[in-house]
């Protein structure tokens, strides 16, 4: 009797807090992304805006929580070697699906849908943008309506590629059956309004503008979502998005507000909203070109064949360039709460973060000057250091972005202080990252001495990311400049470690190897890491339940969002 009373009281208390309200009680919520969603199928568009907007509708088997832990979503539990879900030889993984889950059209969610999703993305003619999620997959089969077994062609120490994270959600077989391969792009209706298992479903989709959604009547938790309807508006720029949440309160949530931190904090002073930030794996870094980018080399420009760089191959120069930079100021000025200085390209998750390179955290102009003096680089008549007729003159390129241009200006000044001349160049992002073979301005061609951008990896496993800097990843005309090793770094010892990593299963051992790889890259100066970048978003004070997640879609827990009364 007494126990029952306590339970009721607890329930009443929860109700009073508004956390246990029924589905749809909290009315309407407005979400603002300054890039508009163009499609609701992440397999056909890997853009963050498309992945995150569709994550409100379609869901994966497992996803990462705000701390980067894998949690079961449409599956009963995350399969591991310990619970028998992953085979001892690491070549297969078996997922058990939750019972009783329904699609938004009322039909049952089964293992067939999961198998179909894999077939859909692995079709060679479909142009699937999440193909890497299904790397090394041999077969996927439905053992029974609630069990799916994935077999790999090689042992996979990290078998959580397929069906985890916002990039790899399950789509409904019945809806996409006729959309396989070459037909994928023509299924406009399905791509604009996929049936899902998630908390919301589409009522109207306007490409590159706005999506209207309502609560999914068949969502598995009868009390969620708290919002009856949702608007996902896109377009504009980050500054006005921040303004619409923090200053005018027209919107409830704004995504990825990479604007000058002093502007953001002055907007937050209006008191209508809160700025939230969290850190993932992104690092703003400089790539150091170890090959010669001189224009007179023609085709051999910035290739291994073209020969080494005239001065960046000198380890002292690279170390001096890194030491001259004040990373604390860079992160304060450009990123505020969403940045911290780092000396690693692999700063997170914590288990992988090395402390061996922390020398660079403190700016040391004297040491930088001393290094250059000792290496024989002496200031010429114009103050720029030179040796044997080679001047320390750097062309420093990056994509167009206000924060990056501020960083460039600051770095130029610091390098000027150690006698290094810098010419700045910024290139439109669509060109810089575009990889057009005919353009000289892509980050792969790297026709400059230094280039700067952010790189990161999805989920928590760094293996694929660390493989970016092996010898055969070097971009060159031979592989159509398709490669990730921008510094053109090549060290057989590094390649050996990469092979070793792919064979190691225990996470502690993997961490040791990954750290070694990171330290090797840092100490040999292939890259100059600058700032460990977080994600900044903002929500209005009356919106509760926000857990900013940088490991998965930011909207991953939208089912729990509610109005704070």
């Amino acid at each position: 009797m007494r126990k029952q009373f306590i339970l009721t009281a607890a329930a009443a208390a929860l109700l009073a807090n508004g956390a246990w309200a029924a589905r749809g009680d909290d009315g309407h919520v407005n979400i603002l992304y300054w890039q508009a969603a163009s499609i609701l199928n992440p397999y056909l568009s890997g853009g963050t805006k498309d992945i995150e907007s569709s994550s409100l509708i379609i869901e994966p088997l497992g996803r990462y929580d705000e701390n980067g832990n894998l949690v079961a979503w449409l599956a009963e539990e995350i399969p591991t070697v310990a619970n028998g879900g992953v085979a001892e030889d690491l070549t297969s993984i078996t997922w058990t699906l939750k019972q009783g889950i329904k699609w938004s059209d009322g039909t049952d969610f089964t293992a067939d849908d999961v198998v179909f999703t894999a077939e859909y993305c692995m079709d060679p003619n479909g142009g699937c943008q999440q193909e890497t999620k299904f790397a090394d997959v041999d077969t996927i089969e439905a053992l029974d309506p609630h069990t799916v077994k994935i077999t790999f062609t090689v042992p996979k120490p990290f078998p959580y590629g397929p069906f985890t994270g916002g990039e790899s959600p399950i789509i409904q077989k019945a809806q996409f059956l006729d959309c396989m391969g070459p037909n994928a792009p023509t299924c406009t209706e399905a791509n604009f309004g996929p049936h899902g298992t998630g908390p919301f479903r589409v009522t109207e989709f306007r490409a590159n503008d706005v999506i209207s959604m309502e609560a999914n009547p068949n969502y598995r938790d009868p009390n969620k979502p708290a919002f009856a309807s949702l608007t996902f508006k896109g377009g504009g720029d980050a500054a006005s998005a921040a303004r619409a949440v923090l200053e005018t309160g027209e919107f409830d949530y704004a995504w990825n507000l990479q604007i000058d931190p002093s502007i953001l904090s002055s907007m937050a002073e209006a008191g209508k909203g809160t700025v939230v930030s969290a850190f993932g794996t992104g690092v703003e870094r400089m790539m150091v070109n170890l090959t010669n980018p001189a224009a007179d080399l023609g085709e051999a420009r910035s290739t291994v064949e073209g020969g080494p760089h005239p001065f960046l191959t000198d380890a002292n120069v690279r170390r001096a360039l890194s030491l001259a930079i004040d990373r604390v100021t860079l992160s304060e000025v450009g990123y505020g709460d969403a940045g911290k200085p780092t000396c690693n390209v692999l700063p997170a998750p914590a288990i992988y973060a090395s402390t061996a390179n922390d020398e660079c955290l403190v700016q040391n102009v004297d040491l930088a000057n001393q290094l250059l003096d000792e290496a024989g680089w002496m200031p010429g008549s114009d103050g720029v250091r030179e040796k044997d007729g080679v001047r320390l003159s750097i062309l420093y390129q990056t994509s167009t972005n206000a924060v990056r241009q501020d960083t460039q200006a600051l770095v130029k000044q610091w390098w000027g202080d150690i006698g290094v001349e810098t010419e700045l160049r910024n290139i439109d992002a669509a060109v810089f990252f575009g990889g057009d073979q005919s353009s000289p301005d892509t980050f792969q061609k790297f026709y400059a001495d230094i280039e700067m951008y952010t790189n990161l990896f999805n989920g928590t496993d760094p293996e694929a990311y660390m493989n970016n800097w092996t010898c055969d990843e070097i971009p060159s005309p031979a592989n159509n400049w398709l490669g990730n090793n921008m510094p053109r770094y090549c060290n057989p010892a590094y390649d050996d470690l990469s092979v070793q990593l792919s064979k190691t299963a225990a996470i502690e051992d993997r961490a040791v190897i990954a750290k070694q790889m990171n330290d090797m890259l840092m100490q040999e100066g292939a890259m100059i890491p600058l700032v460990h970048r977080g994600r900044v978003s903002a929500h209005i004070n009356t919106l509760g339940g926000i857990k900013l997640n940088t490991w998965d879609s930011e909207l991953w827990n939208a089912a729990d969002w509610h109005r704070v009364k």
Binding site: I263, A295, V333, Q408, A409, V431, S439
Partner: protein
């Protein structure tokens, strides 16, 4: 602007000068305009702060003795930047405007006067109007930036590129307007009379047609300067123009817009500079037009 006794008031140019002098707006406009030019040319001698020098501890400051126009988000002195930016913006604005004006007027006059050229020239105008600007700029930059940079150095090379790009993409309106006016003037009595006494085409164009289409050309010129200064900032913003640490008025205005709530005074200076330049050129143009107007002469 002192009165020189060297000009003979009886000659036609002397008469123009006399009329120009008596035009109050033109005098004020001219004075302001020359002051702006002197200021941006000579200003850096008196205010020798490096416009690119950062001082992060003095960022986002208001007006003070050390910084008469405040500082930006990296602590650069806004006054020094406005001075340095003025030289670039004025140079780009004027050269690009002249290029587009000459192109536009030439094509407009030829198309309006010679019927056999009309079809070809006006269809090319349609083509240039239809080409999407941004991809065009990307292509031009991609093709010529490195060549120009190698030939003239980074700054002059980009200057030439920008002037060319703005000139080549903004002459069409002038050409259409000029052509429309020429079509009408060609049929006027005085042109027909000149034709009937056997005056050559080039003489008719320079003596009778051009003086009568001066006003739209002057308006195009004033609007053209503003347009060129703003377009330059858009180009730089897209990474197609000058390096990001190279101040120009348009760029300063663009950057300052983001800080409009934090340091509102910052947007005023470049905005004021552009507006003053355009206004003064406008009044200069008005005066020049009145002075050159054949019907008002000798009234």
């Amino acid at each position: 602007m002192s009165d020189t006794g060297l000009v003979n008031p009886e000659s036609p140019w002397g008469e123009v000068w006399v009329k120009f002098k008596s035009h109050k707006g033109a005098l004020i406009g001219g004075t302001i305009f020359i002051s702006i030019i002197l200021l941006v040319l000579l200003g850096p001698m008196f205010w020798d702060v490096d416009p690119q020098r950062l001082n992060i501890r003095e960022k986002n400051q208001g007006i003070s003795f050390a910084h008469p126009m405040g500082t930006d988000q990296l602590g650069r002195d806004t006054f020094a930047q406005v001075l340095a930016g003025g030289r670039v913006s004025l140079a780009v604005g004027f050269t690009a405007m002249l290029l587009s004006l000459v192109l536009g007027a030439l094509i407009g006059v030829l198309a309006g006067y010679f019927k056999w050229l009309d079809g070809l020239l006006m269809r090319s105008t349609d083509l240039f109007l239809a080409l999407p600007l941004l991809p065009l700029l990307l292509v031009i930059t991609m093709l010529y930036r490195d060549t120009l940079r190698a030939a003239f150095g980074p700054e002059t090379g980009i200057f030439l590129l920008i002037v060319f790009v703005i000139g080549i993409t903004s002459w069409m309106q002038t050409a259409r307007i000029v052509r429309g006016d020429v079509l009408a003037i060609k049929e006027r009595e005085f042109v027909q009379a000149a034709k009937s006494v056997g005056t050559g085409s080039s003489r008719i164009i320079t003596r009778h047609v051009l003086p009568n289409i001066l006003s739209p050309i002057m308006v195009s010129a004033t609007l053209g300067i503003a347009n060129a200064i703003i377009t330059e900032s858009a180009l730089s913003f897209l990474g197609l123009g000058f390096p990001s640490d190279f101040p120009t008025w348009g760029r300063l205005l663009n950057d300052a817009t983001a800080f409009i709530t934090l340091s509102p005074e910052r947007v005023i200076w470049p905005g004021l500079a552009i507006s003053l330049t355009v206004l003064s050129v406008n009044y200069l143009g008005d005066g020049l037009r009145d002075a050159l107007d054949p019907r008002q002469r000798g009234r």
